[in-house]
Symmetry: C2
Subunit: 349 residues, 2 copies
């Protein structure tokens, strides 16, 4: 178990796909003292892959190495748990490989295990290559599905995109556009509002302000271009408000992100994938963080991909990866604060 | 008829809603010598409304005034055709009014008449207030529908949004999102590609480059999240290419505007309203121009609205309105060049 009285939380950091920029990003993160001060990190991956990353990043790492789960847990400082699962010579930079996917998947699984048993307060990973993951594990759909399966999770979890103080969550995701309207229900929107509210609270927002995007152009124009705003979305917003969730809408989706960017809202709940992704990517979301929330611990990763085309060149930008660590650390610290408060209350009662 | 040998084209400029910033924008445009040099303008509206606008804008206008269509046509310089249709005292700044809507509608109708009979090469208008238009004319839906009815037009016309060299056209517009997938057909996409190509040519693009947005997330991910890309959009793109139209796609809609913004494409054809509007508004489309093309003459207006909240304060930004005049003038000049070329060819043959 992590020590709730410790001043900093513990995060597991899984090394992602070894054929892209993930090794050098991981090394860059570990060489950044501003990060190692916000969290104790258990790095999970092969020491040879990390050494390659350090070479590419031009940093030297002086990291204790654990060769077993027990050793990794026992360390009070940032440590590499060597998985000894990939010799970098077995893969080629810039090329998708099953071996690379298998190692990333094994690292991720070990990180999830640490989190499920409370060894760490949160999970981060440097980018995966989905195609490589699928070569290693054909049933691999995405991180949310994998986590759900690994954890035998039956609750409600969701993916958030976070950029410069604007959060984006979505009610539907990887489904045909033609199916979206039929999938939008009052209950599903309400569940997503609760999840978004809770995730914002967990990230330290005292009074989260969530904007809900409309489904139809001009928010349906009073029912002229669709009735989902009237029949489904507005009732969900009203019920959420009645439950004390700070939310408003539905707002036309072509202006709601302008308002969020201007600071009027902390998060935008969109009805479908591209509604949010078009906006977030234009606002520079590749510099942002993808957060998976609802699993009981935060899972954070940079929003960008493996960038095979620049792998090994030492030019990968650390910004989004740093933000991923910081967000996970902040959410983990907030959860610790809440735990300490609960314990204090228990001690009093 | 306009004189094709004249060095500058003639535009009709209808004064829009009198209760917002349209009067001051109109006055500001007319006081800008950089605009009156690219086009001869026939301003259509009430002289008292324009005088009010000049006062608000803090400009003095020395404009010949025509009191009849014949006088307006006879003038070889920029001229106001006084419609004597609204005493500004009859309306209140910042308040929707039927009288205001009726005057804007009458001005627009007169401008369209000028264009249909060849008196002008293009039409511009300062912003309308749709609610006011509807008070005056309950059947008023939007400018495209009104033009179609006024002109007994049976061809294909479309609305374009233009911002900093990025054009956006859409295959469907003011329909429920649930209806979009069913409305997307190969023929409709092809028609829109031809229309977009022609409009770009008319605006002086020698070799237009059009990106076609996908309908589904991740462009359908090879059919996993919808098949419209495979069954409908790609075949339309292929047929358009075979007809010599410079187009490509379908591209995921969450990155296609990034590529257009980077200069890889001149235009993006989107499948539905918000797909383009989310992107264009985030890129600052309120500074952009709305172009209605396909009617045989360009119709341009600033993309922003009547801004009732700042009406009369003299702070309205002229940028988008200037761009509207410039785009209409450029398209009109291109059409004139084409006409002169046709005439030269006819003279030779």
């Amino acid at each position: 178990m992590t020590d709730p009285s410790a001043s900093t939380p513990t995060l597991a950091l899984a090394i992602g796909d070894p054929c892209g920029i993930s090794p050098e990003l991981t090394a860059g993160l570990l060489a950044d003292p501003s990060l190692t001060s916000v969290a104790r990190i258990i790095v999970i991956g092969d020491r040879r892959v990390l050494a390659m990353g350090a070479k590419h990043a031009g940093v030297s790492l002086d990291l204790p190495i654990a060769t077993s789960r027990a050793e990794a847990c026992a360390s009070s400082q940032t440590v590499l748990w060597d998985q000894a699962n990939l010799d970098p010579g077995e893969v080629t930079l810039g090329r998708i490989s099953e071996r690379g996917g298998a190692s990333a998947l094994a690292n991720f699984r070990a990180a999830i295990d640490f989190a499920r048993y409370g060894t760490v307060d949160g999970v981060c990973f440097t980018p995966f290559n989905k195609a490589a993951m699928r070569l290693a594990h054909p049933a691999y759909e995405d991180e949310v599905v994998f986590l759900t399966e690994e954890l035998d999770f039956t609750g409600m979890a969701s993916e958030f995109n976070v950029l410069d103080g604007v959060w984006n969550a979505r009610v539907t995701s990887h489904v045909p556009l033609s199916a979206v309207a039929g999938l939008i229900t009052k209950d599903l929107i309400l569940e997503n509002l609760i999840l978004t509210h809770d995730a914002l609270l967990a990230a330290g927002f005292a009074e989260p302000r969530i904007a809900v995007a409309a489904l139809n152009p001009h928010a349906g124009d009073g029912g002229n271009f669709g009735r989902e705003e009237i029949d489904v979305i507005a009732p969900a917003v009203e019920e959420a408000k009645a439950r004390g969730i700070g939310c408003a809408g539905p707002y036309p989706s072509d202006t709601v992100f302008l308002r969020a960017r201007d600071g009027q809202f902390d998060a935008v709940l969109t009805m479908y994938h591209d509604q949010g992704q078009i906006a977030m990517k234009l606002m520079g979301f590749d510099k942002g963080v993808t957060l998976l929330a609802g699993f009981g611990f935060p899972v954070c990763t940079p929003a960008h991909g493996t960038a095979y085309e620049i792998a090994g060149k030492g030019v990968a930008n650390l910004g989004a990866a740093r933000n991923a660590i910081r967000l996970a650390a902040r959410m983990a610290a907030t959860a610790r604060g809440a735990t300490r408060k609960d314990e204090a209350l228990n001690a009093i009662s």
